[in-house]
């Protein structure tokens, strides 16, 4: 038994080349840093949710951790072992311990394979055909609430939510230690979403499963994640205990995000923190605090000086002027 966290990521960087030859010849910048110095640890049995702006680098971060996207810098340690630049052949045994659920449910299932083959595939890949495959397939279907006869269906014969459930079943098939799930419940109705989340919570309680979950659904975050990290332009702007952040977000972007969450009441009056529409480009990152171009609380110093990471309560964040009150303070500011 080690005291080391299951997963520990530090200073992770991922870059993409964009624009091609012509831009390069024209002397334009052709590289973006989609993940820009991100660090976190994940303990066994813990769930961390990644939330944040669309395009802020969540999927890229997850793909880098899972070895699908080369990192340009930093380190990724899993059970104490460095994964960055790990040779391909060493990944195969790791895939049993670490499974990934992709953002696109139907597209990530091979169209030519029946649901039965899709569910049996993880066992076959890892040479586990000794177990009764048919029994495993039935167990997995039941686990995600699909009738048995779905084993004979092909991906295009499934609804979006049914395909998502097949993805969940594949991810949990080999009892992994870590699940990296990109939008695991998107496209599910609230009842089945509840079932999937209850299932993931059960697995965590029973087997000490750890999870890194990416989702835009803030209600899901609150129900499943012990900790959450908020991304903006490839960096964490706030990270901490979920419940504490929901009660009192400290970073203005977090506060804006939480205030935007649509509520199931047609008569609800929202006190939203409005953000100006222009989302900055990764090719031209703003100076100082990178959120200053949209932050309703920005001061002069925010334009020139990048805030240093600081701690407020159980959260770590980067802001010169953290909001420190509870939701009431946020509302008061939003309303003013």
């Amino acid at each position: 038994m080690t005291t080391e966290p299951l997963l520990s990521v530090s200073e992770l960087r991922v870059r993409f080349r964009i624009g091609g030859m012509m831009s390069a010849l024209a002397g334009r910048r052709t590289e973006i840093e989609a993940v820009s110095g991100v660090g976190f640890t994940l303990e066994r049995g813990q769930t961390l949710a990644l939330v944040g702006e669309s395009g802020s680098g969540k999927t890229t971060l997850a793909r880098a951790v899972d070895g699908l996207q080369p990192a340009a810098g930093g380190s990724i340690r899993f059970e104490g072992r460095e994964l960055r630049d790990l040779p391909k052949k060493d990944w195969k045994p790791l895939r049993r311990k670490m499974s990934m659920m992709f953002q696109d449910p139907v597209g990530s299932l091979s169209p030519r394979l029946s649901v039965r083959s899709l569910l049996a595939e993880p066992f076959a890949i890892h040479g586990l055909s000794g177990r009764s495959l048919e029994a495993e397939v039935e167990r997995l279907l039941a686990l995600v609430g699909l009738p048995r006869d779905f084993a004979d269906r092909y991906p295009h014969q499934l609804s979006g939510g049914q395909a998502r459930r097949v993805g969940v079943a594949r991810a949990v098939a080999l009892d992994p230690e870590l699940i990296i799930a990109d939008e695991p419940t998107a496209g599910l109705d609230v009842s089945i979403q509840g079932e999937v989340l209850n299932l993931l919570n059960d697995l965590r309680d029973r087997m000490g499963l750890s999870m890194l979950i990416i989702t835009h659904n803030l209600h899901v975050v609150r129900q499943i994640a012990d900790r959450m990290a908020v991304m903006y332009l490839g960096r964490f702007v706030e990270e901490g205990e979920t419940e504490a952040i929901f009660r009192a977000p400290h970073h203005p972007y977090t506060a804006a995000l939480l205030s935007a969450n649509p509520e199931p009441d047609p008569d609800k009056v929202h006190n939203r923190i409005a953000l100006s529409a222009e989302v900055p480009s990764l090719l031209d990152r703003p100076s100082g605090c990178e959120f200053h171009t949209r932050c309703p609380f920005a001061q002069a110093i925010c334009r020139t000086q990048a805030p240093a990471p600081s701690a407020v309560g159980s959260s770590r964040l980067t802001c010169h002027f953290p909001l420190n009150g509870g939701p009431s303070a946020v509302e008061a500011i939003a309303a003013s």
């Binding site: 669309s54 006869d149 109705d189 609230v190 979403q193 919570n201 803030l218 129900q223 649509p262 199931p264």
Partner: protein, 326 residues
């Protein structure tokens, strides 16, 4: 005027294990200038319904009964491929769950956005300017520059926003959107809701909007339809449905929304049981097996009961649920 009028529509899929009745006698109306939402259990037939409207049913699917009237005239069920394509290119715009359905992976985004405007008669430059403006409205950073990029160079949510921008460039009379905001963060989701409302007023179009996010439906839609196992079980104004749900399924669905929980719960509420086998539909009410109010009466098909002039629930016991919600 009613832009889209679906009457008693039934759709079957042929499968190896028999005929699957995906939709049974579905009726709904999308009035002019209104935003209508559809909610319902995953697999209840929402996508099938809009595929039937768009003439995009899979090869093993067929409309077995009913009519789909568009702008009071053409019955879309009998429209041929060319007629349907023309309508889709001019009057009906779509945004799907999976944005890659709308985007061609081998063409730049700018080219695809120009192609959408083929009827405008504008110059290439003017079309690009409109594309840039629309991309800015859906908050794509650096729009001028990104026109040259290909779909795989954008994040999931960015692709979805591009698909939305393309649909709106058409200035359609009906926009059909199947979970268009699922891949977007909350601030963008709200921005898109506001953009849709604003453009809907400007263009004067109607919107048929599918989502599992009840908060989005509550905020965006004027009217809504609740589906279960291929049937419309309840319809009414968004207020009627959220404040006074009268079908037991609707009530249970609303109760499962984690948005109603103010803190973390060890177990999330769910609706016990599963969707009935659509190859072997139960006699009478489709919700019987999961309904706490089910009795003998429910083994015959329940009527569409009017709760008020605009609010209808397909249930024998609509009184049981009265006053049940806040």
């Amino acid at each position: 005027m009613t832009v889209l009028d679906v009457k008693d529509l039934s759709v079957d899929f042929a499968t190896e294990a028999g005929t699957l009745q995906a939709l049974r006698k579905v009726s709904l109306e999308v009035p002019a200038n209104r935003i209508v939402g559809i909610v319902g259990e995953s697999g209840c037939g929402k996508s099938t319904l809009i595929n039937a409207v768009l003439g995009l049913l899979a090869d093993n699917g067929a409309v077995t009964a009913g009519q789909i009237l568009f702008e009071g005239k053409s019955d879309l069920v009998h429209l041929d491929g060319n007629g349907m394509r023309a309508l889709r290119g001019q009057k009906i715009a779509t945004v799907f769950q999976d944005p890659m359905g709308a985007l061609n992976p081998v063409l730049s985004v700018g080219k695809q956005m120009r192609d959408i405007q083929y009827r405008s008669g504008l110059s290439r430059k003017a079309k690009d300017a409109l594309s840039v403006e629309m991309l800015r409205k859906v908050r794509i950073p650096d729009p001028e520059r990104r026109l040259a990029q290909f779909p795989h160079e954008f994040s999931g949510g960015m692709k979805q926003r591009i698909a939305i921008a393309m649909a709106l460039l058409m200035r359609p009379s009906l926009l059909i959107a199947d979970e268009p905001t699922t891949a977007l963060d909350a601030t963008l989701e709200v921005a898109i809701i506001e953009l849709l409302k604003e453009l809907q007023k400007q263009i004067g179009c109607s919107v048929l909007f599918i989502s599992h996010h009840l908060g989005v439906i509550a905020e965006l839609c004027d009217e809504m339809i609740v589906m279960y196992a291929g049937e419309v079980v309840e319809r009414g104004s968004t207020r009627d449905i959220f404040h006074n749900p009268r079908h037991p399924y609707t009530k249970k669905l609303l109760d499962c929304d984690p948005a109603r929980l103010s803190r973390r719960e060890p177990r999330l509420p769910t609706i016990p049981g599963t969707l009935p086998d659509l190859r072997n539909r139960p006699k009478g009410c489709v919700f019987q097996a999961r309904c706490e109010f089910a009795d003998d009466a429910c083994s015959t098909m329940p009527p569409d009961r009017a709760v008020s002039a605009s609010h209808v629930a397909r249930c024998w016991h609509t009184d049981e649920t009265a006053g049940a919600a806040a």
